[in-house]
Symmetry: C2
Subunit: 565 residues, 2 copies
């Protein structure tokens, strides 16, 4: 009897990208960084005239139907999106199905063929989608800027090359896991006069339909890792973007659907499921029994709800309270400059932005002797003021405030308690005079009022908190990480033992530490192919971009066997 | 500044076992089988006189304190264990702490040093424990036989070499995952005139205290994979055995504690937490906030409870309904003989034992033409009768019935409904005239009474179920797997398309299929280093021995970084 063969490779893209995929798998493990997608918006990399052409495409899209999706949706919905830079509605309509069941049915049908495609076919096509996405990075930047409020440069980097890096990580690690074990096994066992023989065959079976729930601040960077991880492991995906940030992910889905269709797969394999703020379909989708995998980025309350849904494989990135521990440093100004940038970048709307700065009240050791608590806080305040008041750098670093809730939180922050060291205020932006902006508010607490900071206060709100000593700083930072979650921690110390202690205790609270950052490296940055983003080890999220767990929970391995006479 | 170094290898065992560990990692991925522990009780492998000496040790243990544990427990508890072969209580006492908090505190303290040991130290010491366990395989066999009711040969194999194989899989895959990513990374990024540089360091942080909850039928085989997976990833383990099957796992824990102590680690790192049937401490342990990882083998109801505990990483093997699909076969007698053995082996008390046999009512194709439904069932019944009535093979294959509940279920099975084709009855065992034994009952259902089989009926209870055709057989088998879980499926078909279809549809129901087993290979057997045991893809369990998910969920990877000027 002929033995059944594994699935055939049906698309030629794998050959085209084979060496890139192998390099990516290698890079994922070496973690020294790998940048197939250049991160600067440069004609040398992305084509002469591409920026202007895509700016025109962006402008032409405003006020119109988004017609670049190939999904079989049957009606149109005008979104709630509005630009934090102009305050105006984007007035873009997206194709929608009239009910949740239609999304589910279309996804399931589309997956019938995809689930049988082998790892090479899937990996090849998915890399092709990223390759084609490159031609849309500028439009993606404008779409991101005018939904999230990120600056143009950050919008380009985060939604384009950095998101593509993270997607490629998922493809690489996914391909690696799918092909990890022998597919065809000849098993023999001595049994006296003859050997017992079995032929065994491994199959990877996707867990089932995946739902990716997006956030309003990083609509592609936070969504693509889960989407590509689900796809490479054989699962159809429904993407439910934040109602205020649809355009960027719609662009990506359009490209994916086009590549799928061009290669004989059903474009409904990845569906955009847009909704409006006052009639969201997220819970209906999440609770649907056919949905087996959920990726979520967003608030703690919704994240906890999703994590608690029975029978689902859930990956979350929620909120965290990120700390800075200042113990000792040679150059206080360089440190303060770095901190000022970190707390101002995208107006503290990054999940990696620091919030609580712990400083011993006796001051810190520096190159020229002891620097007092007051001088440390003064340095941070002055550097921050200098940055946000800089006519060019100010708005370029801070971008705009994405949501009304964040704006209100900042405006009310002065009433939290404590002493306001630096007041928040609008940052002028000559190009966008109506931009919603606010510079960071810096509040000093005293040892009795430290409990005023309970968890994350999303946005440009920063606390300088006096402690007895660095041990207490570490204790408070690790406690905050354990109780409220943390995605990053920054620490300044010139003492090796203190460094070990901080690194280990924060690691045990599931938080990586960046030490002694000055110059052009910021704690906010988590690089693809080098940094794991979120550890899964504290309440800030149960998943990590991109560790093996992020991949292997999405499929099961089933080995069948045939007796050979 | 000197950069902090990764943990040092503190034990020399790694060097001793380095090549074995590398071979095991290779074998885990090739899946062609690897047997460092010979599976027959042979003096050539296990030493002249070892069997007699260890039989004496077993006999000396009965009625006495189990004094081979090094844990700091403060009192003694006589267990509820009794031999299914003699009906007598073993009257062994085990050391216990007086309360759950004491177990937790002792575990946490013991983990302070272990968590800092590197992967090499852990792997070396854990392999050493298996090496030393070899010298107890005979006693382990007697202990297993007289708690579980397994035959002597199965007791030796399952609790000794096969359990050690599974433990070694966990060590190998664990070591592989812990060392998968670079530990020390030099990261550089061009930034105009100079490069930005970071040194990065990876740490593996165990999730926290692990609890391993054992079952009454396979006290070491089902427990060791989770125990070793938790240990290799840096987590202390509390083992809560089934109150009726403590002795076998106590032996293993004694060896582990001895190796730990001999190498400067706290023996409390692995604690035996015995209890009595009427005052079990399992829920108190499972719900304790310090317990972060739970491995469970046992009933659906308790398994579902454990899976539902919030904030825990849970691995379960619960019950399943295993099917046999008979489509076509060349040699009906050979098939029937194989099935008879499979349903009689350890009296159906294996989680891999078949229960539902689906046969088209129009009969099946065989070498000599069509064989009627009646002739198929007759062949199975006759072969089973012949096996269980065989004076030597009968009791040697069937062993004894472990629990009163199973015995009662078998005795009442004739009242389920359907037509009893073969009655259950006691199997005589000359060596143990008081052994609790029952041969399989085989019940024929008709198409209207098929719903009488709702889920697993644990023990030697088998149904022969007529179907319209093989498509319907497959539909029923895959439906049972999806709804009630399944760990194995056996199928007989000579048609390649049918084989593909069965393999794929059962795989999608999370169930591996064994095709055309005759001769000496049985569906019940899942070999370490080749077969994944349970897939995690249906209600029979959410975990798999030993796939990457079984390892990677037990720790998180945290990378810290230092700015380099």
């Amino acid at each position: 009897m002929q033995i059944f063969a594994p699935a055939k490779t049906t698309a030629s893209s794998f050959e085209k990208y084979e060496s890139l995929i192998k390099d990516a798998i290698d890079a994922v493990h070496k973690r020294e960084h790998y940048t197939p997608f250049p991160e600067m918006p440069s004609p040398a990399d992305y084509g002469e005239g591409a920026e202007a052409a895509q700016k025109s495409a962006f402008e032409a899209q405003l006020g119109n139907k988004f017609e670049r999706l190939l999904q079989s949706s049957n009606s149109w919905m005008e979104s709630d999106e509005e630009s934090p830079y102009t305050g105006k509605a984007l007035k873009i309509s997206y194709p929608v199905f009239s009910d949740v069941e239609s999304y589910i049915a279309a996804s399931q049908k589309a997956n019938e063929k995809w689930k049988l495609a082998d790892a090479k076919t899937r990996a090849g096509l998915l890399v092709e989608t990223l390759h084609q996405l490159k031609s849309h990075f500028y439009e993606l930047a404008f779409a991101t800027m005018h939904t999230t409020g990120q600056s143009y440069l950050m919008s380009f980097q985060a939604s384009g090359p950095h998101a593509a890096d993270r997607a490629l990580e998922s493809i690489a690690l996914g391909y690696s896991e799918l092909t990890r074990f022998a597919d065809k096994i000849s098993w023999e066992k001595p049994a006296g006069k003859f050997n017992l023989k079995l032929e065994k065959f491994g199959m990877n079976i996707g867990r089932g339909l995946a739902l990716a729930i997006g956030c309003s601040t990083f609509p592609t960077w936070n969504t693509l890792p889960g989407v590509y991880a689900s796809l490479i492991t054989g699962n159809a995906v429904i993407v439910k973007p934040h109602p205020k940030a649809i355009y960027p992910i719609a662009l990506v889905i359009g490209v994916i659907q086009s590549v799928l269709k061009g290669n004989g797969f059903d474009p409904n394999l990845v569906l955009l499921a847009s909704d409006k703020s006052d009639s969201q379909i997220t819970k209906k989708l999440a609770e649907h029994p056919a949905v087996k995998i959920i990726d979520f980025t967003g608030s703690n309350s919704f994240g906890n709800y999703v994590e608690g849904l029975p029978g689902k494989v859930v990956f979350t990135e929620k909120a965290g309270v990120n700390s800075i521990i200042i113990d000792s440093i040679d150059d206080v100004e360089a440190m303060a400059k770095n901190i000022a940038f970190s707390i101002s970048l995208y107006s503290g709307q990054m999940c990696t932005a620091p919030q609580n700065i712990y400083v011993p009240e006796s001051g810190i050791a520096a190159k020229d002797g002891n620097v007092s608590f007051d001088d440390v806080k003064k340095a941070i305040v002055e550097q921050t003021r200098g940055l946000v008041e800089h006519p060019k750098a100010g708005h370029a670093v801070a971008g705009a405030i994405q949501s009304k809730a964040t704006m209100e939180r900042v405006l009310k922050a002065k009433d939290i308690g404590g002493k306001v060291l630096l007041e928040n205020k609008a940052i002028s932006n000559p190009e966008f005079p109506d931009a919603h902006t606010q510079s960071p508010i810096i509040i000093e607490l005293n040892r009795d009022s430290r409990s005023l900071v309970k968890g994350e206060m999303f946005g440009p709100i920063v606390f300088i908190i006096p402690t007895k000593d660095t041990n207490e700083s570490l204790e408070l930072a690790s406690k905050a990480a354990r109780e409220h979650g943390a995605i990053t921690c920054s620490a300044y110390t010139q003492n090796e033992d203190t460094m070990h202690k901080i690194a280990l205790e924060m690691a045990e609270a599931g938080t990586p530490v960046s030490f002694n950052l000055t110059g052009g490296v910021y704690v906010n940055q988590n690089a693809g192919f080098s940094d794991f983003h979120v550890t899964g080890g504290n309440p800030a999220g149960n998943a990590s971009f991109t560790n093996p767990e992020f991949i292997v929970k999405r499929f099961v391995r089933v080995q069948s066997r045939i007796f050979v006479k």
